[in-house]
Symmetry: C2
């Protein structure tokens, strides 16, 4: 019964997100969520907004939130676009900057949604193989016909690309947009946002879902020069006038403004990441040097799929990607210390029984 489907629906190859299982006894380390709650100021802001005007449309321009994000990065609000999660910002960016008939470039091992967007919008793409150490071969990102997109740090490898390398990619693509998807940047060295003033072809995309613990609220954003932001606004205003609801606007704004809380949360996660990485190594894993809130690891004996499935049988969710050359790896979200201790207890049991 696909008679009524457009060509677009027919060629679509939808993204499959990590499982969202509910349940009391599930240890959920599979979708890179923040294990801590968001800032208490988020709750205060939402509770206040809730009492006023849910029957009225939200701001279509979301200026107050754009301003708050701008202040964080010391740019005017005209440099900021806000969307319904960074996935929507990414989708709009594919629509705004990439073209049918012009091949874009992204790594073969990366956020798998890029391929989904490109397929949906009929944008040709070239996926470049990673180096053997899983870093991205820089020169392969040069002179793209249609543009470049990659996450920094990359997912699911967790590896960070230094800013001087990003500068090279920007220099070697002066006439095409380079999108740096910084979903995990707050757990890494530094953001490319500081390059935005110099490079009119740079769009940086971030989210409040990870470091700010607002995955449930759906707010992502992009930072770039106003001509890029204007393009995103034109797409958004041709799709949906109001993409961020009233509660998400005030909640995200409160989270952005409570930078001290965010820093504390990040520090806790970095600390847990450190000892968890060591612990994994002791258990026979090689672990990439993560600059994210997850660890990407390969056991010297056991394959990734088996580990993932055996852990799932014990109510522990982690993620496995059935793709060469990472099929032996597992991706583990860094939880709280308590969660990770429980994780290691279960992992120990799985390994002992193998």
């Amino acid at each position: 019964m696909t008679t009524f489907w457009s060509e677009m629906v027919k060629r679509a190859t939808p993204y499959v997100p990590g499982k969202q299982m509910d349940g009391e006894n599930i240890l959920k380390l599979n979708t890179n969520e923040n294990p801590y709650p968001p800032s208490p100021k988020v709750f205060q802001a939402i509770e206040k907004e809730l009492k006023t005007s849910l029957h009225l449309y939200p701001s279509p321009t979301v200026d107050s939130l754009r301003q708050a994000i701008g202040q964080l990065y010391d740019v005017p609000k005209e440099y900021v676009f806000v969307g319904n999660g960074s996935d929507e910002v990414l989708a709009f960016s594919f629509m705004a900057f990439f073209e049918r008939g012009e091949t874009i470039i992204f790594p073969k091992i990366t956020y798998s949604f890029y391929e989904v967007y490109a397929t949906l919008f009929n944008i040709p793409y070239k996926q470049i193989e990673l180096n053997r150490n899983f870093t991205i071969p820089l020169e392969k990102l040069f002179q793209a016909e249609g543009g470049v997109i990659f996450p920094n740090p990359n997912a699911p490898t967790s590896l960070y690309m230094p800013l001087q390398d990003i500068v090279e990619v920007l220099e070697q693509n002066r006439h095409k947009v380079v999108i740096v998807d910084e979903a995990y940047i707050d757990f890494a060295e530094q953001s490319a946002v500081k390059l935005v003033e110099k490079y009119d072809n740079l769009l940086v995309i971030q989210t409040t879902s990870k470091s700010r613990a607002l995955a449930g609220l759906r707010v992502g954003f992009a930072i770039g020069q106003p001509h890029l932001i204007e393009a995103l606004i034109r797409i958004k205003d041709s799709m949906n006038s109001y993409t961020i609801d009233r509660l998400a606007i005030v909640g995200a704004k409160a989270a952005i403004n409570d930078q001290q809380y965010t820093k504390n949360t990040i520090n806790k996660i970095l600390q847990t990441r450190r000892w968890s990485r060591e612990k994994l190594r002791e258990m026979g894993f090689s672990v990439l040097p993560s600059q994210t809130n997850f660890l990407f690891a390969e056991h010297y004996l056991y394959d990734g799929l088996t580990l993932q499935q055996k852990l799932q049988d014990m109510n522990v969710l982690i993620r496995h990607f059935n793709v060469t050359p990472i099929e032996n790896y597992i991706r583990i979200t860094v939880g709280t210390d308590e969660q990770m201790e429980l994780f290691f207890k279960k992992l120990q049991k799985v390994i002992e029984e193998m």
Copy 2:
């Protein structure tokens, strides 16, 4: 600086929503919002959800909300798609069912976003002129090459098309999707949802923004046979896994389930609509027989733009469309009795001073 813009951005002609002015003394009758707050159960549900898991992603499939909507209309959840406002559902529907190179049909005077979507996605369209009494000439909707879309009741005319006419449109377009956009249906005779079981080419789109007073929360939905819903899901999952945040999911569900509250609110608005229409007539307006939460009216002496601007100077917002043949009309959202009394006091003053 449009060098970096895709062809899609360049041809986009973004929608311009009604003004969202804030301020204590503004009487806002310009965006067809519900003047009453949503059900108290909405607040309870959101407050409860707020305390639990904002740091976790929401359900990507939104099954609980789809189920609630399904129960309301006595269809399984496989007949229901949920999106970020009915605008997003409309955008996804254009992507899912309409095709480049196949002309779709919609009325010339109608929700102006249809033209925006068609332009964005390069879908050719034919806009049919309304009859002199502003009804839609039925036979002009027959045998569409690419599909049909119209609101029922139509906006901004406020006029309702009876179900037997919709059946004719469906019969005369057996091989193309007919989208009936029922944003205002709860203020009208009856929904076309009951035709969904019989017609595999019918998609009905509704919203929680109007009758359920949740414009600030962004939840719209579509009802149709599972093959149509599956197409929408494929588009959504190729754009953004989680379009509805945790608070919006539980809030909308609570609103859908509190059908008694919704009915009471609608009845109050219908009562206010009745006397407001009479009052407008007494003041020299001809007013179309509205089946929506707004009134569409033309004064026998004064033109619409002047009235709208003079009212705006007095902090009263209504909407005017600078399009033939409705340029003399004004669109007034039905507020509370108190709001409408204030509106008529200000309107009286405007007219006296002209």
